[in-house]
Every structure is written in structure tokens, then in C-alpha cells.
Symmetry: C2
Subunit: 229 residues, 2 copies
């Protein structure tokens, strides 16, 4: 069975990393059995064997694979007889654009909205590291970074317009059924739902309906995980 190191809060069942959610949806899509190991930031030595200092990390047999994109392409190329995650080489290339959009546009907006909730849910032993490393990264206090919640929610909803427009013409980014491109963005929104106390999308937003459909996939795997909405 594949093992996966999965970012957890003080509650070991609270799994919130957007990148880890990409990987869990990918593993489930591939119909691969896997078990997750709760991982905290102080557990960096536990994944050093994989050459990584961040999760997700999977271990398939003896082989470690780190980085959500590398894991997705590893699974696709290793388990070719299983349902395709990308739907072909050209769709894989296009998924890279979706991945880049999520990493450079969507996640930075969500980070502002979630950073204080993340801090609040972390294992006590992770809190000082998280605050120090993130404040260094963003160049200000986390409280300053998270200020203007209303403005950040507005910016988030506006930034989702490309997805909203896509969903006006088809049920998933993958087409008639979800593919890894869907899981990429779902991971970001499920991050928000798993650790953020504030509902960020309007309930009548087509993006929210799409998120709910994906939460129901794989027997409701994502929906069953602890979260707020």
C-alpha cells in the first residue's frame, strides 16, 4: 500500500494542505490504496530520506516521490492501466497551466484569508516555526498579511472568474468528468474549507457547486475529512 505524509494540525485528523489534497484526490482517482501519516512541520527529519522538506511525500514500495506535480505524473506514468489523471499528453501540458495558475494566483490570495486560522489549528510545537518562516516570506506580521478580510474575499471571488466561466460550458475542467486539473483547484478550496472558519464562496456560486461535486467523489472522501463548510 502507498504511504503518504500528509500535513496535519494539532488534531491529527485535520488535514489541510492544498498540495496534499491534490495528491489524495489523485491517488483515489487512480484507485490506489493508500494510507496517510499525519505530518507536522517539526517532522521534517522524517521526510529527509525522500530529499524533501515539504509534503506531500509518497512512498510506493521502497520508492519515495515528493512534490504534488511530480507525484501526479509518477502515478500517471507508473499506473498506466488505471484511470488516466490527465487524459493524454496534451491535456497534461495544459494542466500545467492550471497548476501554475493555482500556485501563483489562487493560493497566494487564499493564504491571506487562511493564515491566522492555520496558525490557530497547528500543533503547539509548530506555531513558532510557522509564524517566523511565514512572516519572513511575506515581509510583515501575519496579522498585517491577513488584514482586510472583506477585500481579500472580494479578490478571491473575482480571481475565480476563469473557473466560473469554464463551468458555464462544461461540468469539470477535465470535461464531462473530473481530472487532475480539477483536483488542483479543488485542493486549494478544500484547504480553505478544512481550516478556515469563514465560508469564502457564495452558496449560489457555480464554483461552489463544482467544489461540492468534487467533495462527493470517491465515496465522499474529502467531505468526510474534518472541516468547517
Amino acid at each position: 500500500m502507498i504511504k503518504m505524509y500528509d500535513l496535519a494540525g494539532e488534531n491529527p485528523d485535520r488535514r489541510f494542505s492544498p498540495f496534499c489534497w491534490r495528491t489524495k484526490m489523485a491517488l483515489a482517482h487512480k484507485e490506489l490504496e493508500f494510507e496517510t501519516i499525519p505530518w507536522r512541520y517539526y517532522d521534517k527529519p522524517k521526510i529527509a530520506f525522500a530529499g524533501a522538506d515539504r509534503v506531500p511525500v509518497i512512498v510506493d514500495g521502497d520508492l519515495p516521490v515528493a512534490d504534488s506535480w511530480k507525484i501526479a505524473t509518477y502515478l500517471e506514468d507508473t499506473y498506466v492501466e488505471r484511470p488516466s489523471l490527465f487524459g493524454g499528453v496534451h491535456a497534461r501540458a495544459a494542466a500545467r497551466f492550471v497548476n501554475s495558475w493555482a500556485d501563483t494566483v489562487l493560493n497566494p490570495l487564499l493564504a491571506r484569508l487562511l493564515v491566522l486560522d492555520i496558525l490557530d489549528h497547528l500543533d503547539p510545537a509548530d506555531k513558532a516555526y510557522f509564524r517566523e518562516s511565514r512572516e519572513k516570506r511575506v515581509g510583515m506580521t501575519l496579522e498585517a498579511f491577513a488584514a482586510d478580510t472583506a477585500g481579500n474575499i472580494k479578490a478571491l471571488r473575482s480571481a475565480l472568474e476563469p473557473l466560473r466561466a469554464t463551468l458555464a460550458t462544461q461540468p469539470f475542467i477535465g470535461g464531462d468528468s473530473p481530472l487532475y486539473s480539477d483536483y488542483i483547484i479543488f485542493g486549494s478550496l478544500h484547504w480553505a474549507r478544512s481550516i478556515g472558519r469563514t465560508r469564502l464562496l457564495e452558496t449560489n456560486d457555480p464554483v461552489e457547486a463544482w467544489r461540492e461535486r468534487l467533495a462527493d467523489e470517491f465515496g465522499g472522501m474529502a467531505r468526510k475529512a474534518p472541516g468547517y463548510w
Copy 2:
């Protein structure tokens, strides 16, 4: 031979519509012979037969097809033996996300940077219509809409980060060679180059190198068209 109605300025050779450039690149990719008919906004009656009031409109034999996305899918599904524009059904679905991103994020930013240059290049008979219809759409004078050029250039360069990140790992959105997803965004940047006097991207930007590669495709079709950079 396929006929295409193509937005033109006072100079009938100045073709600048981003949507028309998508279609011209698609026709060339499909190795289809086509001739363009310069079209101005006052020519709306000339495309009414196609049920359209905007270009691109193509006429293939007796069949008119309007709307750049519909034209691309028409060409793909009609000329199946020609080089694929999408690279499969799932890549076509993902291209819809790229199309939505260009339409909702990229083009509105470019519109602010180009609107006064467009006005300046239009046929005199088009200018009053253009100003009135666009000022109604944006709810302000075109001069107010175009204010803050420096800020708009900064926003544009930042908005292109998902493409820049994608190009850090592969030469085209389509993968090793360009597909319609590339032509979508190329059309927007070639719009800027065809009618805008201000160079908008830094010459060492990987997006600019990608744009130049696409301008060289099909015997330099796009590069040969009138433009400023």
C-alpha cells in the same frame, strides 16, 4: 477556400482583433487555405447572414461559423485528418479554461492599455461608434479607463505569471509544440503588438520569447502583419 471576416483599422492591412488572431493561427495550424476580408464595425450588416455582429466569422463553402471558440471546435471536428488543434477531448476541455482566463483576466487588462491606440487606428467612420459603445460598457470615458499606464503594465506583467511559470517547465502550453491554447493567449499579446505603440513586456521575459516563437510559426504569418513590436 475559407473566407474570414477580420477586424481592420483605417489601414485595411492593420488586423488587430485578439479573437481574429486566434482564428487565423487555428486556420494556419490546420493547414487550411484562407483569405481574409477586412471588416470594420460599420460592416455589421455584412456578417448578419452568419447571425453575428462581431468577428471572427468564417465561411467554409456555404457554411458560416461565428465566434472564435466555435470556429476552433468546428475546424477540429470537421478537419479531423489535419493536425489537431487541441490534442484530444480532455486537452480541449482544459483549453476552455485557458480561453476563459484570457477572456476574463488578460483581455480586460490589455483593453485599458490599448483602447486609445485602437481608437487612433480605426477607420474614421468607426470612431464615434467605438467610443460610444466602449464608454457605455466600461462606464467612464476611454481616457479615464486608460489612465495609469504604468500601473496597468505592472498589473499585466503580474497577471502573466501563470504563463511564465508554465513556460519554465515546457516550451508551449500545448507541450513540445503549440496548440490552440497557445494561440488563445498569443492572440491577446499580438493584439497589443499590432495596434499598441508601447512595448508591454520586457525583452528578457520568457513570455516575450514564447510570443516571438509563435510569431515565427507558419512562415512568420503573424510577424509579417503590420505592428509595432
